[in-house]
Each structure stands twice: as C-alpha cells, then as structure tokens.
C-alpha cells in the first residue's frame, strides 16, 4: 500500500498508518461534501429557495421510499462500471476519459452480435453471455488501444481516449443508420430489437437490472486485484514512478495495456447492460454521458474501486432526485448540475489537504499512491 518510492521494510512501523490513511481518505471527501452542501445552500438562498427543502427532496427522491431507492440504484448501475473504467487506469497513472466510447461500442457490439444469434433461435442462455463477452472484448480493445498508443507511441492517453470516443459513436451511427438498421425504426434509427425473451431481467423483488450486481462484483474483484495481488502492486508501482518500475524490471507495457483493457471491459459491460437490460437494441440513446459521469464518480472515490460503489450511488441519488427538485421547487434541470460542479471543484481543492491535517497524520507522512 505504501511503498512507492521506498520498500516498506525501510520505514519505522508506527501503529496504524494504514488506519490513519483510511480515516484521512474518509474524512477529507466527507468534509468536501459538507463544504459543497454549504456553498450550494448559499447559492439557493441567493435564489430565494430553501436549502432545507432542497436537501429533504434529495432524500425523498433518492432514498425516501423503496421506489426511490430502486430508482437510485438503477441509475447507479452504469456509473459503477464507468467509474471503475476511470479508476483502474488512474491507479497506473493514466487519465483515460474514453469510457463513453467503450460503452457505446460495447453496447453496439452486443446488439450486433445478437442479430444472427436471435434470428438463428440460439437460446438466451448462450446468446447473452456471448453478447456480454463480445461487448467486454471490444471495450477492452478500444481502451487498450489508447493504452498501447500511450506506452508504445507516446500518445497522450487523455486526448486519444477522448477522440476514440467520438470515433466509437461515429462507428455506431454509421452501422445503425446504415447496414444494421432495423427497417421498422423509421424515425429513430436502431438495430433490430433483441426481443423480450433475450432481455436481462431485473433482480428478484426489484426493478433494478443485473448490471448493478455485476458492478458490485467487479468493484470487489478489482479492489482485490489492485490491492491484494502482485499485478495490482506492480500496476500501482508503475503509477507511482514509471522509471523506477522499469528499473525494477516490471513489464510496464503489459501492465499499462492490461489496466486499460480492464477499464474498457468494464465500460463495454455497461454498454451490454444498456442494450440487454434497458433498451433492447442499439441506437443513439446509448450516448447518455455515463462514461463522462463515471470520471466524476472515480475522482470522488479517489480511484478506489470499492469507494466507487457508494459514490456512484450518491450520483444516482442526485440524478434520481433531480426530477423531483424540478417538479416541486420549479428549479431548472441545471440545478443538480450546479451542485455536481460545486462538489467537483471543492473536491479538487480538498486534494491539497491530504497530508496536511495534523490530527489525521500517522508518524510518517508523505508518500501516497
């Protein structure tokens, strides 16, 4: 966890640096959230609106009833996966913002793969895993490409992944409006619907689709991978200092491309669920911005795969209650975006507090991954 520059054995062991670190990682984002809420309250008061009403509506809309909770979770499902898609490459020091493209391309691939399988009458039991795997594979290749370009050609991965996103959307549009267009979709070009029998249903007793469960499982699995395995250790070491990692003989190129591929697979899987659980076909609705919201989610979670889950749920709740706020308070849609923006900025500022709040420091300070 700690040894980025120096091996852990070289440091004096004090009681609980890890605990203090965890506490710090909890207190600072929470403080940032509270500060954002206060700032936003000032904004509301200036507009002549009641902050109390606002936050109680966030609660009502996000968690106030079983309907609200399901609404929140349903919206969180893709955000967990796209949050992971940003968080994993971030651990190896890459700022990849192309999850949107991998999601769109993954969803499109799932829909395209489904066409021959569904028309051929192949059972859903076979078809759905094939759709999911191909969506993940295509997502992995897409983001992996950005990683490959980064490592082997020195192309800035932030720019390349963003541009690849536009290409991904264009590729989907090209096929959806042309070769793979369902003739019945006259006014909204779409691929052939996969049909109810091939849809991924909801989790028992809820209206939330299985993408949420997939996100939870992946979040735990990736947390284990990144913190409890040699792969994760090597990846984080590379993220800390590429030269040192190379000097240690770590396969940096492989690690970079692998982390990117994992990220792409997560986003591709989100695309699969959008098609198989939500839309039933691929069309322009796949371009919903989940990939970009995932960046915010991962940032707030400080790139910790486990923390991505509660943060995604918080964003889901904000989205779920946004409509209620519009309807009850007569405020524009942008209100929740203002809150999100404030959270993001305060969060960036709060980054500067790490290692500087005395009571949160263990005896040793300094290096963090």
């Amino acid at each position: 966890m700690t040894a980025v520059v120096s091996p852990p054995a070289a440091r004096p062991i004090s009681l609980g640096p890890r605990t203090m670190r965890a506490l710090e990682a909890l207190v600072i984002p929470l403080g940032a959230l509270i500060a954002s809420a206060l700032l936003f309250s000032v904004f509301l008061i200036l507009l002549g609106k009641s902050p109390a009403t606002f936050f109680s509506l966030i609660w009502t809309g996000g968690f106030g009833s079983s309907f609200s909770i399901q609404n929140t979770l349903q919206r969180s499902a893709p955000l967990i996966l796209t949050g992971l898609a940003f968080a994993i490459p971030a651990r190896i020091g890459l700022t990849l913002i192309g999850a949107e493209g991998a999601l769109v391309l993954g969803g499109f691939t799932a829909a395209a793969v489904a066409i021959p399988l569904v028309t051929g009458g192949i059972a859903p039991v076979v078809t759905l895993p094939l759709m999911a795997l191909s969506a993940m594979a295509v997502g992995a290749v897409w983001i992996g490409l950005a990683g490959w370009l980064r490592h082997y050609r020195g192309v800035n991965e932030t720019i390349s992944s963003l541009l690849l996103s536009y290409i991904a959307v264009a590729i989907m549009n090209f096929f959806v409006e042309g070769l793979l267009r369902d003739p019945a979709s006259a006014n909204k070009p779409s691929t052939m619907p996969i049909g109810d029998a091939y849809r991924v249903g909801s989790m028992p007793g809820t209206s939330v689709h299985w993408g949420l469960a997939a996100g939870l499982v992946l979040a735990v699995a990736l947390w284990i991978l990144m913190t409890r395995t040699t792969f994760g250790f090597a990846a984080r070491m590379t993220g800390g200092n590429v030269r040192a990692a190379k000097a240690q003989g770590l396969p940096v190129g492989f690690l970079v491309v692998a982390c990117c591929a994992i990220a792409g697979a997560c986003a591709g899987l989100a695309g699969f669920y959008e098609v198989a659980a939500v839309h039933g076909q691929a069309n322009a609705s796949l371009v919903a911005g989940y990939g970009f919201t995932g960046i915010l989610v991962a940032f707030l979670a400080r790139q910790n795969p486990l923390a991505v889950v509660p943060v995604a749920i918080m964003f889901g709740a904000l989205a779920a209650s946004g409509g209620l706020i519009q309807r009850r308070m007569g405020m524009p849609d942008a209100t929740v975006l203002v809150l999100q923006g404030i959270i993001f900025v305060v969060l960036l500022v709060s980054e500067t507090f790490y290692g500087r709040i005395p009571f949160l420091q263990a005896r040793t300070t300094g290096d963090r991954t």
Binding site: F67, Q74, A284, A320, G323, L324, Q326, R327, P332
Partner: protein, 367 residues
Amino acid sequence: MTSMLSRRSLLKAGAAGLAASALPLGFARAQTPIVLGAVYVGPRDDFGWNQAHAVAMDILKQVPGVTVIEEEKVPETDAVAQSMESMINLDGANLVLATSFGYYNPFVVETAKKYPNVQFRHAAPLWNEATDPKNAGSYFCYLNQAHYVNGVAAGLSTTSNKIGFVAAKPIPSVLSNINSVLLGARSVNPAATVQVIFTGEWSMPVREAEAANALIDAGCDVITCHVDGPKVVVETAETRGVKSCGHNASQAPLAPKGFITGAEYKWETIYKIYADALAKGEALPNFIAGGYHNDMLRNSAFGAGASPEAVKAGEAAIEALKAGKPIYVGPLKDNTGKLVIEGSMDNYDPVLDGMNYLLEGVVGSIT
C-alpha cells in the same frame, strides 16, 4: 408531500366547483384532481419543440383542478422511465405526457404496462392498437400543413426564388415538411426551388449555423428549417439580412426584420381534450391526429419579412387547408425523375407517413 399536493389540487377543484357557473370550460367540475406529468427532452425555452409543448402546459396550468408537473432535459434512456415512475409514485401523476420521439419504445410502453391505472400519451404516431397497452396512446399533428403555408408566404417573399431548408434527418416527417414548403411556394411562384442541407442530428447548433450560412451563400434569401431548436437558424438568417420562416414554436422575437411566418403546433387543443375527458371520468382517446382542420396547428403571426401579397396568400392557404384542400396533388415526381404520387392524396393519408423522397424542385439528396 404527495398528500400536500393532492390537497392543494382538491382545494383548487373545490374552488373551481364554486366558480363553475362562471367558467366556460367543461372540466371546471373536476371530480378527481388531475396531476399531469410532462416530460421534455430539452429545455422548455428552446424556441422549438419543447417550448411548443411547454407553452401549451402553461395554458393548462390555468385550468382549475389540473396540476401540471414538469421535467425538462430528460434523455431518451431509461432516465425517462425513472422520471415517469417518479412522477407517478412521488407526485401522484395520473396522466403522463411524454413529448419526445425516443421515449415511446420501450419506455412508455413498459411503464404503461407497469401502471395500468395511469394514462400515458406520447407525441408521435407510434401507438399500435394491436400490441400496445390500452392506457397508452399517441397524439400527433401534421405540421407539414403549416409548412405549406410557410412555403406560400416564402414563395411570395423571395426575390431570388431560392428557399433554403436546414433539415435534421432524412426521415418521413422531415421530408414531408420540405416537400410541403416546395409545394406551397410553387403554388404561388412556379419558379421557386427549395435547397436542403441535412445536419444529421436533431440538435447540432454549430452545423445548423454552417448550413444556414452555406444556403445563404448559395443565393437563398428565405431560410427555414426542421431541427429541434430553430433559434440558431433563424438568428443566422436575421444577422445575414435574409428572411426566415419558423418551425415548432414562434421564433418571431428572434427576427424582427426578416421573419415571415412559422409552422407552429397548437398542442393545447389536444391537452384540453385530455384534461376534459379525465375530469369527466371519460376514457381518453388513444389516438389523436390533427392538423388545420381540427385546430391543432397555427402559423406564427406574419412578421415584417412577409410582403402584403404573402400575408394575403398565406391566410387564404390556411383557410383552404381548414377546408381540407389536399397538399399533395399528383402527378408528382421526385427529384430523380421518378413518379411518386399519381393522384390527389388526402392530407392524412397514411401512405404519406412513409415518405422517402424529395420532390422535383428540391435541390438536395437524402442519401
């Protein structure tokens, strides 16, 4: 909160009952409070599609016994299903108006199945009696009739005889609007042509401005459009000093010098039918299609860009459409020379819903 809302509606309904004798509207005697949830895909003040709906909602808000709750910028993803469910569960909505094309399938259909006691109506002719739930339905206006009037007025206001049309996507409803502008213009000015540029997206302001500029550079002196928000197109035409015709809602304030007229929806006619039926406890019609003959369209008031002859001919065209005058009268060829319409088509003929051609006289291609 739900109880508070319905209490407020009840109070309104009670007050309405007292005032019923003084009110001309049938649904003043509301029994059930009507909570009408409206979902928009874009902002309510977009000078376009969403504004046309929101203006109609504003009129409904004045109706006693009707509470209107609105949500804007809801994307065509499962977010719309969530929004509709939230309106039903948290606000007690009993009529949901989903106003964007992509909301229908699967979201309106599936939500309607889940909430059989709530009525859903969707603004596009997509409801299928055989397969779709009975508590869902469609409403739609044939805006091409008002575009025909645009064409008539434009045909008499142009000096270059070239009308520019910025179009979103080459789908039937858009193509019908382009062709109707041409037929309207040709009905008064046989030399008129319509030049079209497709942007490929419903809302792509930069490309819309480029398209408008390109059309003006090509000599068009009247610009009109079919995109979600015609603001950019109309403003571009105005700053370039050419005339413009509007689409969806009134863009007259954007072009004080060059605005001729615009094709506008009159959704309030339909929404009042719904509110009225709900208040009386009657079943809502599942399918309403309208045009000039049943007061579901209007043209924006003629602006400074319209010549006196254009105003006169435009008004005459409106009267003729109200009386059922057909727009598509054959023989008509498309702009590749193929005969596409032989005889005279009724303005509501379903064959026209499958339009996939540009008529001879339209400069442009759909592929």
